[in-house]
Symmetry: C2
Subunit: 202 residues, 2 copies
């Protein structure tokens, strides 16, 4: 249950391909023309499928546009899963959430362009929040597993997961606001440190 799914069989592979093509086309068109000027039909055409098929994959253009970023969140979750079990949880979270420190600058800039577009679009606010909500759920699951707590009944893993995901969301937001004058990984690490310290008044 990571970012990748088992791709057994031709059918599965084709579906994944189609989905990826649609998501990619949606993101590209949104960047080129602006979210408002993208239609579901245009995305379908760009991905060489019928408009009707588009609707079999995504419930709307918004979902398609952010699909790549949603999948990207999976890598953060994978990063947390990959941390050694003995490591203190806060350390693991810091490592996983400051992934940007290990990204080639060019790739980070590429990501920034997309995230900026999503975070700036009023129409995508719901989707944007949903992305991080999902990240929170994934973190919750991993945290519950690592700490031997129950995500269904225990406040701890859920609160920690939600708070960590939102800390990242906030620092990404502030990073974009600063227009490159701040370091995302540093900002995120700062936020996590403050959380670990109990959010003392400055």
């Amino acid at each position: 249950m990571t970012a990748e799914k088992a791709l057994t069989g031709l059918r599965e592979r084709k579906k994944a391909q189609t989905r990826a093509a649609l998501a990619s086309a949606a993101m590209r068109l949104a960047l080129e023309r602006g979210v408002e000027n993208v239609t579901a039909d245009a995305i379908a055409e760009a991905a060489d499928v019928s408009p009707r098929t588009f609707r079999n994959y995504f419930s709307g253009k918004e979902e398609a546009i952010v699909a790549e970023l949603v999948d990207g969140m999976g890598y953060i979750a994978d990063g947390l899963r990959a941390r050694p079990t003995g490591e203190p949880l806060w350390e693991s979270l810091r490592h996983a959430l400051t992934f940007s420190a290990f990204l080639p600058p060019e790739q980070l800039e590429q990501l920034a362009v997309k995230v900026r577009m999503v975070m700036a679009s009023r129409a995508l606010l719901g989707s944007q929040l949903a992305i991080f909500e999902r990240l929170g759920e994934q973190l919750t699951e991993i945290i519950a597993e690592r700490t031997g707590t129950d995500a269904r009944t225990d406040l701890y893993p859920r609160l920690t997961g939600v708070v960590a995901a939102n800390a990242l969301r906030l620092t990404v937001f502030m990073w974009l606001e600063s227009k490159g004058e701040s370091d995302l990984a540093e900002l995120t690490a700062d936020a996590l440190a403050r959380l670990r310290a109990g959010l003392p008044e400055p």
Copy 2:
């Protein structure tokens, strides 16, 4: 700039009335028929305005359905504003966010019915998240004011506001999941206490 707006003039009053009528009708219909079976036109009809007018007030049925709850969040912000300035911030937050402890049980149950519907609806997920996002922004503003920090550049007030709002969201969610077997105010207070303590592993 509280939950209430100055209602000078007949025009303002009528607008507020129309808006309230639409929001109320939207919520009622959503509860009666389920979110999926409510159309913008039906809401307009129930509120005795033209469908076109409905769209002048709300961008879609989702926004109308949650409008009452959005406004309700304003009262929580007002509650925080009303706390004495000398009080430690965590104390103030606890008081403001555990408002449910001071609500008549009947009124709390009435609220629960609405919140349950909103939180259970897939179609309202985005709106639901946006409600709490807005609460986070309001808390941020108040926290910045109280602590003399700058919400534009300082991580502290924003992080605290966002985290507090999401703590409430999570505890409301868990409270609804428990089907009345837990106390919302206690749950929320517990979450805030954990945050203040730096989210230690249990």
